[in-house]
Symmetry: C2
Subunit: 375 residues, 2 copies
Amino acid sequence: MKSRIGIVGGGQLGRMLGFAAKRMGFIVSVMDPTPHSPAGQVVDLQLEGDYSDPEVTEELAGISDFITVEIEHINTDTLKKLASEGAIVNPAPRTIEMIKNKLAQKEYLAKNKIPTAKYLEVSSIKEIETAAKQFGFPFLLKAKLNAFDGRGNALIKRKEDIAKEFMRLGGKDLYVEKYVPFVKELAVVIARDIKGKLISYPVVETIHKNNICHIVMAPAPINKKYEQKAKRLATRVMNHLKGAGVFAIEMFLTKKGEVLINEIAPRVHNSGHYTIEACYTSQFEQHIRAVTGLPLGNPDMKVPAAVMINILGERKGSADVKNLEKALRMSNVSVHLYGKAETKLERKMGHITVVGKSVEECLNKAKKARKTISI
Amino acid sequence: MKSRIGIVGGGQLGRMLGFAAKRMGFIVSVMDPTPHSPAGQVVDLQLEGDYSDPEVTEELAGISDFITVEIEHINTDTLKKLASEGAIVNPAPRTIEMIKNKLAQKEYLAKNKIPTAKYLEVSSIKEIETAAKQFGFPFLLKAKLNAFDGRGNALIKRKEDIAKEFMRLGGKDLYVEKYVPFVKELAVVIARDIKGKLISYPVVETIHKNNICHIVMAPAPINKKYEQKAKRLATRVMNHLKGAGVFAIEMFLTKKGEVLINEIAPRVHNSGHYTIEACYTSQFEQHIRAVTGLPLGNPDMKVPAAVMINILGERKGSADVKNLEKALRMSNVSVHLYGKAETKLERKMGHITVVGKSVEECLNKAKKARKTISI
């Protein structure tokens, strides 16, 4: 059996992919610029190198039967070249390439008539002001590239902030997005196997804090009708994306009951961390199955409800977890820590998953558990 | 927070302890004679050295805040010395020392009036023949030391086999055990935290094949009365063992409804592998919590039933898994492979856990899944 997996990126997503892949007996290598990265700690080998480094990417491919990614901000040109030479790369490099440029992603959605927020490419303060007139305040100013976890995003509430945010975001490669006054944010984690079969996880509700996914409630406490709408939309999106693996589709549910696409991630996602404890097959095992040509597993929940809350860094400095024992005194609380040596304000240092009888019960407990721990 | 764990032994138990410890953010080192051992592949550091090597054991202790074991056949003298010097070693080295000598374990149980099979120390063929007269055929001839997974055990059915088995088992450090005509074999995985609090997992039924734990059914399909009897007995045994951690107590249930202790393991155990998918807290996380001074987690099952079946090697040579995809086509089947480079007849190469509505349903599926895979 072909058994060597190479993952571009070695953060917490790579770490949890690593746990799943190692559990199934695969030989796993990752590439990441940080020595002894979160994933590097738990897999067979880490190659040190920037995500975009073509040589290290090729070196990784040379020792892997299957290549995949845990982050989209990588060298897709190299992956395309490797795929054209016969390497098994999933998801498809051209899909990763399209998604990593958030404007290209928007254009692709629009071209395929998939409902999403209105947007406009902008290259000057003047163009932003024109867009502001069209979309009204507040609106979003976003960077096309390297934008994730709140980086590269600004919510602009008044004209006076435009110039400042334009400069802060680098003054180029930007676009403006109409603000969607949503009632809830939803996400669907969905997987495709090598033969094209799709399987989707329950629709979850996500709560963001400073543009970072902060809380995930599974299943989303919404009407069945919207749940089905969200799943159908996720399937429609998937039909326009190429390659095997887990994808996450983030959505807005509006007051009128519309469901719009917010963003796509061509990889496992923070909104699916709860699946480790709550589902028959975690999103991480699912991704490993998908990219290695194995059949997909059952994505259903084996508990009635689950809530995930992120453990974000509270200061800058050496990571030192405090009061873990207090959180673990509560039953059915699982604490995941990513092994990052340095903590930073708002950095994803770990997460907590609580499973239980209802989302409400889990949510209360998750918030309480989160409050006890400091990092 | 103290965060460095050292594990003596780097086999599959160390590997699964490693997954649990890394998930919780610990820094984990193991010692094992095999380079890139099953556990070494998934933790921060492996020291190469025999389990009984005093120097490597001290080296491991030197880089660890908490020391524990995944195997009992280790250098307990060194662990005792380290503990006397202030190292945090769990479970207690003297308990590991007593358990690793199976005759000492028997004597300890007998001294504490805990029901177990009758036994006699023997040092010659003549003494075995005398014991045979007392116990009748069949009876067991067992090695005191280094006995596990069927090694060091012989079921003697007739007088003619005594001499041969005496020689095969090394001709010394042996004892005879009366054969218990059990109706079922049971096991209780039980954990103690640093303050002495005990928590026990559901009673399971185990089916052995050639003295190797082969199938585990959870919960054991037995009368509630015997379940309680088994749990009470496990607690009684624990009161005579020292230190924190997970222990496994193997038992016989006889036709008359007696429950006798078969064997004790001072560590996580094959009979508890199903807890990864089936319980709120796996035995591995539980052990890590216990030995690091964290509170114990909920040991209850989150699914109605689970069955574990071992994947034992079928030949000698390089390990090469075949038909994994066929097993994974069945829903709610989790396949664990231990990353051992070499397969051997009856060697533990991995295991399968199936969760579902009833033990019967899971058992059928587990056997079917096991048959598809070859290694």
